[in-house]
């Protein structure tokens, strides 16, 4: 099945979709959602404008497809690091998040896209507003569960409520990402996040 499929029209279509998504990463990251045009994206992907519309009729869909591609990648990595269950194994969950962060640094284009979009998406009319509201809520939840589990084991140095620490962790990461946009060699995202987490959960450093 897989071999036959990979030569059929579906595979060709999948390859084009992939090329389009890669073109979008650069276009949206460089000019923002509103600045990017479908014509420019088609050109970057090396396909015709009508060809692009055939695969993605609306710019909104393109953006959501790229963002979902990125979260699926992160979810798979977290899974393979054994970090999907913050309640059962909070230390592995936090280490998994650090692995995701280290992996993000290897795809600066995607990371830039995420930073630019999360800033733009603060506006309620932005097509990625719901996506980011939902994503940040889930991330807060993830860190809250991990910190709660650590507190129950007496492995949380801070007496602050886990939910508050989760908000802080996410704020720190998000704000450092903005700083990274300005100074890509000088800002060590994973290093700073790791130092902060090891500070609230010393067992993480062991």
């Amino acid at each position: 099945m897989a071999a036959a499929g990979s030569r059929g029209p579906y595979a060709k279509s999948a390859a084009i979709r992939r090329r389009v998504l890669e073109a979008c990463v650069d276009a949206f990251a460089q000019t923002g959602f509103y600045g990017a045009t479908m014509k420019d994206i088609a050109k970057r992907a090396g396909i015709s404008y009508t060809g692009l519309l055939h695969h993605f009729p609306h710019k909104d869909e393109l953006l959501i497809a790229v963002l979902e591609f990125r979260s699926e990648q992160s979810a798979r990595l977290l899974e393979s690091a054994g970090g999907r269950d913050p309640a059962a194994d909070p230390l592995r969950a936090l280490r998994g998040m650090l692995a995701v962060s280290a992996d993000n640094a290897l795809s600066p284009g995607l990371l830039e896209l995420h930073c630019v979009m999360s800033g733009e998406a603060t506006s309620p009319e932005h097509p990625a507003h719901d996506y980011y509201s939902d994503r940040y809520r889930k991330l807060r939840q993830f860190f809250t569960v991990a910190f709660t589990a650590l507190a129950e084991r007496g492995e949380l140095r801070s007496e602050f409520p886990p939910a508050m620490l989760a908000t802080m962790t996410l704020a720190l990461l998000n704000g450092l990402q903005t700083q990274w946009l300005y100074d890509r060699d000088g800002v060590d995202l994973t290093g700073s996040l790791s130092a902060f987490l090891a500070d609230v959960a010393p067992a993480l450093a062991d």
Binding site: C115, G119, T122, Y136, F160, T167, A171, L176, T178
Partner: protein, 206 residues
């Protein structure tokens, strides 16, 4: 001198410029910078498109003028309200908390800054130099604050003041992004607890 000038053509032109800037500010705040247009700004100011271009070359120049105006307003305010970073630590915490509360009163402006802060990281963006300078000043103000805390033993010994300043700037940025995406997040409490995290353990405090 002042009195004849105030009635001459110069005064009329200055009033027109001020009206255009007010309209630009409103348009940027309401629609975001990327989605605003010179045409919309001209409409809001009640002049023609060509009339606006007589005063400002385009959207980039309008943005810079709006940012300069805001800087001037802040500089005026700061003489009375911004505490000495090397002064009483409590007043710095209170000041930053008040700042966040004030920003919460004007979410559309907060959104505009969130959009501009990331978009301006590109060197070709009209506000790039402005934001580079702004971040630099914020970091050095906060570093001065932490240096003064370190001198009086009011910050943990293992805290690097420059790194802490960058983290505080990041937390302030990131908290506002989270709040814009979900207004239930208590960002003022999270900020104050972040600052508490940097304090020396209770038993070591004098």
């Amino acid at each position: 001198m002042a009195s004849p000038g105030a009635r001459g053509p110069y005064a009329k032109s200055a009033a027109r410029r001020a009206e255009i800037l007010r309209a630009a500010r409103e348009s940027f705040a309401e629609r975001g910078y990327a989605r605003s247009s010179v045409r919309d700004i001209a409409d809001r100011a009640g002049i023609t498109h060509a009339g606006l271009l007589h005063h400002f070359a385009g959207k980039d120049e309008l943005l810079l003028a709006v940012l300069q105006q805001r800087d001037a307003e802040e500089a005026e305010r700061s003489q009375v309200e911004v505490p000495d970073p090397a002064g009483d630590p409590g007043s710095v915490t209170t000041f930053l908390g008040t700042l966040l509360c004030e920003h919460q009163q004007a979410p559309e402006l907060m959104r505009l800054w969130a959009e501009l802060a990331v978009a301006s990281s590109r060197p070709e963006h009209p506000a790039h130099a402005h934001f580079v300078d702004r971040y630099e000043r914020a970091r050095s103000w906060m570093a001065e604050h932490f240096r003064s805390l370190a001198a009086s033993g009011d910050v943990r010994e293992d805290v690097d003041v420059d790194a802490a300043a960058a983290l505080l700037v990041a937390v302030l940025d990131g908290l506002q992004t989270q709040w814009l995406l979900d207004s239930r997040v208590d960002i003022v409490a999270a900020l104050s607890q972040f600052l508490d995290l940097l304090q020396p353990p209770a038993e070591k405090r004098v």
